[in-house]
Symmetry: C2
Subunit: 242 residues, 2 copies
DNA sequence: CATAGAAATGACCACCCGGTCATTTCTCCG
DNA sequence: CGGAGAAATGACCGGGTGGTCATTTCTATG
């Protein structure tokens, strides 16, 4: 009556919501995927600010107005991608956590390293966005992502260490939180190195898959030895190739 | 004759050179400092691409043309800052390396952790630029900086480990390169965490200086214990406050 | 076929960017 | 004071940005 509301606003919803306008949901799912994939690539390759809407629509060969009709704004597009990505990440993480929970600490740690490296390689875009977010102060949703993902990861490692302590394969006097911090830092660095020879530090993490696998195992092994109740001299300095 | 060369180009020099036009060197040293400090701040706070020449000259209250007369371009300004920063970093690093070379491995490692944390806090701008460069692919001079600084750091840690092995305080079966990788990763994460509660992981690295010092020591201690020939149970889980 | 509503379009906007350069102002010396 | 050279200036440029919206095209239904 009073306010005829000429603009059919797609309902405000929550501020943290990432729901696109209904238009996008009605699209051919194949087109939806193409749009999301190409956008994700742009953000992962260039970071948030350097990412260009013009490039995205150019590559997709659609009109710029369409993208804004779908997501409202650049940040809206990013929020949508971000939400989907986090949900997509959680499932494999849980699968890793719940699998082989009876195995010994060193085996589980190696498995986690391997699985994480595989994930980072299979989803270079998600990994690229996460890496950038760690150091870029003004990424939208930075606080949300970091607290969600990192809390999950660190809790996971802490529980892993505590379980190892109960099993007797990890020194009891080790502070689980500190150990988790070291593990997470090492793994993160290793994953970062695997995509960039400059950060490789001569470890061979960015070379061929076979070598990388062996080096990842060696890294996990070194951590395990440090945490184990007694040294395991069977695995010596040169014994790096599995 | 043929080419009167109307533009008094300031001599090309080397491509990697960072020498500003002579104009800048003739300036009042106090003004030089102000210009460099404000520029460094802009790059550290915003990264290379988001850094704005307009904001810099606005804050300095000088004309935009002046800055371009001094350094030729945005990248020229950055190169100059970068060169100075690297030179400035090297001295304290060497001092740490050469000091107390007779001390035992754990003491030296703790000392390095403490000194690095102090440096990162005393030079937040340099540290901010370095952190960003690690993940930002298209920083100018990224390759140069990373290979210089990281090679230096990793060699330093490797030598530290090897020395510890000779002294007998570090397990002989430990691969020094891998140990150096773990140490560097942990230290880097700790320094990153100290400026950002989001990355702190509940360790207390970003809280007050006293707590931070204790936590840094605990981190170094945990690494040392992992690397040492036998466990040192005297320093137990709760024994964090020095 | 007619037509209503959804979807797609791209010219256009204001803004900011790095960079230029003719001009003015300053400084110092004869 | 006069003048030369160094230094400072800021209007201006082309180009890229995120964002808008009147218009056209498509599609489904009666």
């Amino acid at each position: 009556m009073d306010t005829p509301s000429p603009t059919p606003r797609p309902a405000p919803r929550s501020d943290l919501d990432s729901a696109p306008g209904s238009t996008f949901n009605n699209l051919d799912p194949q087109k939806q995927r193409r749009v999301l994939d190409e956008s994700l690539r742009e953000f992962a390759e260039n970071g948030y600010h350097q990412a260009s809407i013009n490039r995205i629509v150019g590559r997709l060969d659609i009109a710029k107005g369409s993208l804004f009709q779908y997501f409202g704004s650049k940040e809206g597009l990013f929020r949508h991608l971000f939400r989907r990505a986090v949900d997509e990440i959680k499932a494999p993480l849980r699968a890793i956590r719940d699998a082989d929970s009876a195995e010994a600490f060193p085996q589980r740690l190696k498995r986690v390293f391997t699985a994480s490296a595989a994930f980072a390689q299979a989803h270079p875009f998600l990994w690229g966005i996460y890496r950038r977010m760690l150091t870029q102060e003004d990424f939208p949703l930075r606080a949300t992502l970091l607290s969600e993902v990192r809390a999950e990861a660190l809790t996971f490692f802490r529980e892993l260490v505590e379980l190892g302590q109960k099993q007797g394969s990890v020194r009891a006097d080790l502070n689980p939180a500190i150990a988790a911090f070291v593990i997470e830092a090492t793994l993160d660095r290793a994953l970062t190195a695997q995509g960039s020879p400059l950060l490789d530090a001569g470890l061979g993490l960015s070379s061929d898959p076979n070598t990388r696998q062996a080096r990842l195992d060696a890294l996990a092994e070194a951590l395990c030895q440090g945490f184990s109740v007694r040294s395991v001299p069977s695995i010596a300095k040169g014994d790096v190739n599995a």
